[in-house]
Amino acid sequence: MIRIYAIFLRQVLLIRRSIHRLLGIFYWALLDLLLWGFLTVYLHKVGQDRLSGITVLIGTVVLWNFLMRVQQGVGVSFLEDVWARNLMSLLASPLSIREYMSGLVVVGTTSAFFSLAIMTAVAWLLFSYNIFQFGFLMIPFVAILFLFGLGLGIFTTAMILRFGPSSEILAWSIPALIPPFSGVFYPVATLPKALQYIAFILPSSHVFEGMRAAVFTSRVDWQNLILGFLLAFLFVIASFFFLHRSYRYVLRNGLLTRFSTE
């Protein structure tokens, strides 16, 4: 536990000393919220009652950014160690890769919930949007996106570990692939049939579809949410497995030193 705390503390100290890192936790999320929030206000005005449910967009944007924060909390914290060329010192200590990743997961979780709290407050203050209107449904929504975000964070970390520091672009580009197929801004039915299959295997699409169903039809598709949860859970397991394989590959091929030199 103490080693997991050390990894968490290392990131906290880093954030505490740097205002731009602190802002980074909610800067992009707030920008997204402002952009989509004002767009929904505008659409609501011009569409009158026909677009009354459009405000659900604010909810999907808040939760999408929560997912991104979890992923980046893990992935970018790992990159901080890559940029500091600190990985070798850490992994040649008694710290195990499992403890190291657990520390990063705690960092990702803390920063994501901090960011979610701020976005929830801003959505309510600026747009009178209450994300808690979903009641207990918020629990499965947040749980699925949290797990999927963790899985994405672990997966991108494993990719960078496997392919070296020069592949850090993956930390930003892999998550960017998800929203077009997740139904964050539009229903999955909008996608061509072939792409709907991709949406089906993404846990996030089941959450955003669930949110829309709750608003527009007042029905909860529990089957869909359970499927989303199972997919997210499986993705986390698969990502851990991939991370473990990547780490073994790095140890076998002596690639840890490149994180000090590249």
């Binding site: 103490i2 080693r3 705390y5 050390a6 503390l9 290392r10 100290l13 880093l14 000393r17 740097s18 901080e80 160690d81 500091a84 060329r85 600190n86 070798m88 010192s89 850490l90 992994l91 040649a92 200590s93 008694p94 710290l95 195990s96 073994r248 140890l251 076998r252 091929n253 002596g254 840890l256 030193t257 000090s260 030199t261």
Partner: protein, 248 residues
Amino acid sequence: MPEYILEVRHLSKMYKDGLEAVRDISFSIKKDETVGLLGPNGAGKTSTISMILGVLEPTSGEIDIFGKSLARSRTEILSRMNFTATYTFLPGNLTVSQNLYIFSLLYAVSHPRERVKELLHEFDLERYADTKTGVLSSGELSRVNLAKALLNEPELLLLDEPTASLDPSSADIMRKKIKAYQEERSGVGIVWTSHNMNEIEEVCDRVLFISHGKILLDGNPRTLPQEHGKKNLEELFIAVAREPLALQ
């Protein structure tokens, strides 16, 4: 307690591209012994140290530290040893005391704050305690790295060119600090790599010459050159680097 702190048996490392960095080497280090690992660049010293640190998987062979297998008791062993190397870094965006504190937690030091204070004092780093590590000079950084390596009062210390970037005076201070640490605590074993033969002669009880991944010579640094018809350790080093087969 085992007589040897470190035992390396038939250790080999072959990389994917066919490069054989370490070829069937065996050696051991006793308590209170300082062993120099010498050899030209690319001889296999860093690969050997990386395997002892558990960050490089051997192709074959075994490493036992404190009488236990490194492969099976990694965490327990690594918390009783430490290292400093020219190719490892501490986060430059944290202060000296923050870095030392984080590593004291990683090594599960029992009174971390007190130990950090003690080392800051011992290495004359108190005035840099709140300075970001990234802005320190190489001499100051070497002191911080050595302080980090002594945080957990290791019984086995791996030093990969600990004085490489230091001026002669700072290097001398570092050598004295390391030797003082070893003398103050009984049973500490040290593996020391360096390209400075005078330094090796001064600090090591025994040297291992490695070339092309193999141990060619093993002996006392003060008598080994004469045994091989060389004037001094530097001459012997050059001979190992240029004509290793002649010495086999």
